[in-house]
């Protein structure tokens, strides 16, 4: 690559070419193909046949030129390129579609293409052309792009349009000094030599050059240092530096500036997908507040607000969306570190995304984060039980149950009056898990819920906890008509509950159902009698067994089986 920058623009030296050494046609064709390929590069993906065709054609164009010469020097003028003083490209326009202008406007005045460019470098050149076309004035110019690409078979000459030509002449600006007279110089030199001899001390390191050869161990050390230089996470390094500054410098202006920069950096870290860095930033920000001297309330709040910013619905939703979309998730530990830094305000967004997330690898991580956040922020969890978004509220209900959050009972109870049976069922399950006295009271009322599932869940929950206050309500149900219209599962749940709680006082009622005859000697239907048998089995007293034995010769198979099972399973009164 060639980059000899003169201090100021200089007229391009026109090569002395009286006449071209071969016909310009292949050169013109080559440049036409390059324009075409650069357009194809702009419009199509690399696997597109049109793009591939354009690149192949350009390679063929190079081959034709290389059959004539092994290098091609092109002079770049404002709107045209010349080869041996013959115009070979240019449509006279000053647009970035005109390759000549594209190069010229950034200062390139001569290009030398060498055989070999068409191999791996040609596509890189097309990329550079594309980048240069799209570059804004603030971005790198073509000369910098070419410099960085360092294409071995492309040399170029340019004028430095960035140089202001105002560089001062070089001069030693030190005090003017008067050269010593020859006699003085001679005397000083001889005196110095004498001093040196008199000192008699010789440092071998000053003479033995081999002492400065690096040995293998030192070379290995340097290689490792270079490797380390380039694997270090510069952003988090700078975050650490900024937080060090925050802690050590207490001037408000400095701290304000640091805080602004930290804010900026957090966005960059997130954009770069450096979640560990964000986690570190948030964690260390907390430490900086704790350790820093004279941290004002405002400064503390501003540092604190960093985690809040990330936890805000808009920011967190974007993050989760990006994570859900990415084919390659960051390492789990890295994400876990980040999620650990979320605040209570993140909970609703996390709950919402738990229902939306498609990425099966991300879900368990978010579940963990949700669990941790919910556990640490019960008040927010309780608030979310009644959130307007159904997904959020449902997740909050589930989490409240899983966490046995007694504080959520009141909020959960309110949902029991909602018309949506599935939500009431969710609440019943949550209350079952919470199982506090308050929760059980709500469940007691729920055994008369309009929804079968809610009723069954509630009665089973209460039965499981031997909740005696529901006995009267149960007895009424057992005696009542509604249970007789219910399906077997529900009947069974209620009778089992009744049997578990009623003791001997309930036996006559159950005996009557199992063995009694009603008007015209009619018995209850077989399902109800079987349920009564099971209930008697749960009572498990001598009196209840006696009632069961009376039915042991029952002809109805359903009843007889239930009785047998109850007799076998009964080993004493239910606790």
């Amino acid at each position: 690559m060639t980059s000899p920058p003169p201090s100021a623009p200089v007229p391009t030296q026109e090569p002395d070419h009286p006449e071209p050494p071969f016909s310009p046609a292949p050169v013109e064709e080559l440049l036409r193909l390059m324009v075409k390929a650069s357009r194809a590069h702009q419009l199509y993906l690399p696997n597109n046949p049109i793009y591939r065709g354009a690149v192949d054609a350009l390679r063929a164009g190079f081959a034709t030129v290389w059959a004539e010469t092994d290098e091609l020097t092109l002079v770049v003028a404002e709107t045209e390129m010349k080869w041996c003083d013959v115009s070979v490209l240019g449509d006279g326009t000053k647009s970035s579609d005109n390759l000549a202008w594209l190069f010229y406007k950034d200062g390139v005045r001569e290009l030398r293409l060498e055989e070999g460019l068409e191999e791996s470098e040609m596509v890189k050149l097309l990329e550079i052309i594309q980048r240069a076309r799209k570059a804004s004035p603030d971005e790198d110019d073509l000369v910098t792009m070419l410099w960085e690409a360092d294409l071995p078979h492309l040399k170029y000459r340019y004028v430095d349009l960035l140089g202001d030509g105002g560089a001062d002449e070089l001069a030693d600006g030190g005090d003017s000094t008067t050269p010593a007279e020859p006699g003085q110089v001679r005397e000083s030199a001889q005196a110095a030599a004498e001093e040196s001899r008199a000192s008699g001390v010789v440092n071998m390191a000053d003479f033995d050059a081999t002492l400065y050869f690096l040995d293998e161990r030192e070379i290995a050390y340097l290689q490792e240092e270079v490797r380390r230089e380039y694997v270090q996470d510069l952003r988090t390094n700078v975050v650490s530096v900024l937080l060090d500054i925050f802690e050590q410098q207490s001037e408000p202006e400095t701290r304000n500036e640091v805080l602004e920069n930290i804010n900026t950096l957090m966005v960059f870290l997130l954009t770069a997908g450096n979640f560990r860095g964000v986690a570190q930033l948030l964690r260390e920000a907390r430490a900086a507040v704790e350790r820093g001297t004279d941290v004002t309330e405002e400064q503390r709040l501003r540092l604190d607000a960093l985690a809040d910013r990330l936890s805000a619905p808009e920011a967190l939703s974007q993050l989760l969306q990006a994570l859900d979309d990415t084919p390659q998730l960051p390492p789990h530990e890295e994400l876990a570190e980040l999620f650990d830094q979320l605040r209570a305000t993140a909970l609703s967004t996390v709950f919402l995304w738990l229902t939306r997330i498609q990425n099966d690898k991300l879900r368990p991580l978010l579940q963990l984060a949700a669990g941790r956040l919910a556990a640490a922020n019960t008040a927010e969890l309780v608030r979310l039980v009644q959130a307007a978004e159904r997904e959020v509220s449902n997740e909050a209900i589930r989490r409240a149950g899983a966490l046995k959050a007694q504080a959520a009972v009141t909020a959960l109870a309110k949902i029991m009056s909602e018309p949506d049976a599935s939500r009431r069922q969710l609440v019943a399950q949550a209350l079952t898990e919470i199982a506090s006295p308050g929760a059980l009271q709500v469940l007691e009322r729920a055994i008369e819920d309009a929804d079968r599932e809610v009723r069954i869940t509630s009665v089973r929950a209460l039965t499981g906890r031997a909740y005696r206050p529901m006995l009267a309500r149960l007895e009424a149900i057992v005696k009542g008509k509604s249970v007789r219209d219910a399906d077997l599962t529900e009947k069974m749940a209620f009778f089992e509950g009744y049997g578990a709680l009623c003791g001997d006082s309930g036996v006559p009622q159950l005996d009557a159902i199992l063995n009694g005859k009603g008007f015209l000697g009619r018995r209850e239907d077989a399902e109800i009698r079987a349920c009564a048998a099971i209930a008697l089995g749960r009572v498990g007293t001598a009196k209840s067994l006696e009632a069961l034995r009376k039915a042991s010769t029952e002809k109805d198979v359903v009843v007889r089986n239930a009785v047998s099972r109850a007799l076998r399973g009964s080993s004493g009164p239910a606790s």
Partner: protein, 503 residues
Amino acid sequence: MNDPRSAPPPRPSIPGTPATSRPAISGDAPVGGGESFVRRAGRNLIFSVYGALRAVKLYPVENAAVGKALTELTSQSNELIASEQEFELRISGEFIFVNETRLRLDLDNFASFSHLLSLLRASGIGTVTITGTVTNKDWMVFLSVLQSASSDDPTDRFAQMQDKLQKAGVLVFSLGPPTDQGEDSREKTKERAKRTYAQSVSVTKDLMTSVRMGGSPNIKKIKRVIQGIVDQILNEETSLIGLTTIRDYDEYTFTHSVNVCIFAVALGKRLGLSKLQLYDLGLAALFHDIGKSRVPQEVLNKTGGLTDEEWRMIASHPWLGVLSLFQVRGVQEIPYRAMVVAHEHHMKHDLTGYPRPIRSRQMSMFSKIVAIADGFDAATSRRAYQTVPYTPAQVMAEMRDNPRRGMDPVIVKAFINLTGIYPVGTLVILDTFELGIVHAVNPLQDMLSRPIVRIISDAQGNLLHPGDLADLADRDASGNFSRTIIKTETAERYGIRIGDYFV
């Protein structure tokens, strides 16, 4: 008519412009011909030459180690010739080219490169061409002759070597003298270095002033300046390093930043960093003192002792640099690496120094490089609070010998390897009672204490300007060194301004 097919063009590429071009030096592509093959095969060949040189030197010819080394070398060279139909090894500056492809110099191979370069230079050889199939015996003779001790002038040795090879019937090696730059070209290189330096100082001044005024400096200009310095260092570092001896008192802050950038890039090159890594390093080095643009000028320029508060202000420039660099943002990226270097460049190897880090960290290698370049340039410059600078040799010895300076000893060692024991710009007294200014480190690796000097006064004390260059490795007819340094001196004692001899 200029026929592009005729005679292969010499590499200095574009008419009227000295070659700053370099074939790529990184990213070896798969084997299978072409430049990457030459690069790989050439590199292996240099390793083999080095191995064979050692074997030939250490063991008798019959030794199996010699046979094995020669067989490997022969096989590799013949393979390369078979693939490329030609083999030419050319040395230019500190680089070795094989068939016009520059071999990558890095930490893995610099010892072998350096040894071979030294031997070829000492024998006055610039190019070695193999004109046919080479045998073990050819190589053995060639290598033996190449490293046979001699005190002769390289030009004489070149003729002797050709003669010896001919007498031994080894005709397959064709030797050529160095394709040295002519005086005209050297002048152009020097001029370009001066332009680069002046431009760098100017841009640095704009940068610091802009930051001081709270503005956003032009990052594109800064990038271009660093690119220029990297190009210059990669191609011919002597001229640019020579210019660092210009110690402009009034512009100290700016010239210092540029000097540190030059030393750092040159050291980075010595350590085998790639071009883009050198760019990163150069950028960080140029910015290392940017925090000073936020320190009051009256404090920076104070000549007397500093109060505690003033010292605190000075010592704040590393972290102020970090904040300042947030101002210097191009659209693409925050200069993170430069921030780390600005923050760490006054820390010591063991993380003492200032500022003291609170959070655990490992000092960046680039910070260590910049710390050395910074320490060297600062101590050898005359500044507001250092009216008598130290001599370069004193500073170098202090860095080397005083562990409390906290410099990384391995990088200091590499720095001395770069600058020589008597760095460029050192005023020396020779045993001839002549005064000399060190002009360049001796290209012969084992002659670090015998640099190329410009004789600036004769034995009678008459000051000369510009004076002639003398290689202190040169010997007289009896094999003794013609001139030897006996002492370094301060230029002030003689009323000499070192920079005058480099501009």
